[in-house]
Amino acid sequence: MLCYSGYVSEDLLDAIGLTLKVRLNEHVEDRKKVKQIFSIFIELMQNLIRYGLEGPKGVTIKDEDHSGFGLVMVVEELDGYVSLISGNYIKSEAVPAMEARLSKVQGKSDEELRALLKDQIRKPTEETSKGASLGLTEIARRSAKPIETSFVQSDDKHHFFMMKAFV
C-alpha cells in the first residue's frame, strides 16, 4: 500500500500521512481498522524521526544521534491483515536497552498492555527515550497480533532494527 525509505521529517510525515489516509479510506472498509493503522503509522514514523540513524553508509550526518532515517511499509497481507513495518539503524550499544523496552510489551495481553499504558503515562520520561516508551506500548496495544521484532548486526557499531505490527 505504501513504502518509504530515506530521511524522515515531520513535514514528510504530513505528506505521507495524508496520502496513507486517502489510500486507507479507499481500500479499507472497516473504520476501526483505519484508525488503528493510522495511529500505529504515526508512532512508527515519529520513532524513525527521533531514533532512526543513517547507519554504516551514512556520509552526511552532522549529528550522528539524530539523523531521522529509516524505512516504513504498509502492506495488505494475503491473510487479510494490514501489516506496518518499520526499519532503522540503531547504535549497537543501544540494543540491550531497546530489547529491555520491547520485553515489557511482548507477550502481554491486551489488558496487560492497557494497564501498562496507564502506568507508563505517569512515569517520568526515560533519559534514553525522548518521551515515548509509551509509543512502543501504544503500538503493541493497537496491534491485532503480537508485534514482531528483529535486530541484525550491520557493522561493528550498528544494528538494523525492524518492527512489524498488524491490524
Binding site: E10, K35, Q36, F38, Q46, R114, K118, G135, R141
Partner: protein, 128 residues
C-alpha cells in the same frame, strides 16, 4: 490585552481556543505535534494567565487522534485542572472520543479514572 487565546489548527495540531471571560477552553482536531511539550507549553501559559484571575474553566476536548507524547501532555493538563478543582475552582471537562477508536476510549477512561475533584464526562463522536 486580548480576552482570548487562539491557535489555528495545523495538519498536526488541533484548533485551540481559551476565552478568558467565559473560561471556555476548546481543543478540536488531531494532535501529533513534533514537540508536544512546546505545543502544550503555550496553552499552559494561557491557562496560568486565566487562573491568575478566574476560578472557573469549562473544557471541551475533542481530539480525533492524539499521539503518545500528546497523551502525556494531556495528562499533565488534567493534573493541573484537578489541582485547581481541589483548591476550589469550578472545573468541568467534556472529553469527546472517536467512536471508531476503542483503544483511545479505554485510554481516556483509564486516564480520567484518577480524578475526582473536577467534573468529567466522556462522549463518543463520529469523525469524518
Amino acid at each position: 490585552m486580548s480576552n482570548e487565546f487562539l491557535l489555528a489548527a495545523s495538519s498536526r495540531t488541533p484548533k485551540v481556543s481559551l476565552n478568558f471571560d467565559t473560561g471556555v477552553l476548546s481543543l478540536s482536531g488531531e494532535c501529533y505535534p513534533e514537540d508536544a511539550t512546546q505545543f502544550f507549553g503555550a496553552l499552559n501559559e494561557a491557562l496560568d494567565r486565566h487562573f491568575s484571575n478566574a476560578n472557573n474553566l469549562s473544557a471541551n476536548i475533542s481530539l480525533i487522534y492524539f499521539n503518545s507524547s500528546s497523551a502525556r501532555a494531556l495528562m499533565e493538563l488534567m493534573d493541573k485542572f484537578e489541582d485547581k478543582a481541589k483548591s476550589g475552582s469550578s472545573i468541568s471537562v467534556v472529553w469527546s472520543c472517536d467512536e471508531d477508536d476503542d483503544v483511545t476510549q479505554e485510554f481516556v477512561e483509564d486516564l480520567l479514572s484518577d480524578y475526582s475533584a473536577m467534573q468529567l464526562k466522556v462522549e463518543l463522536i463520529k469523525s469524518d
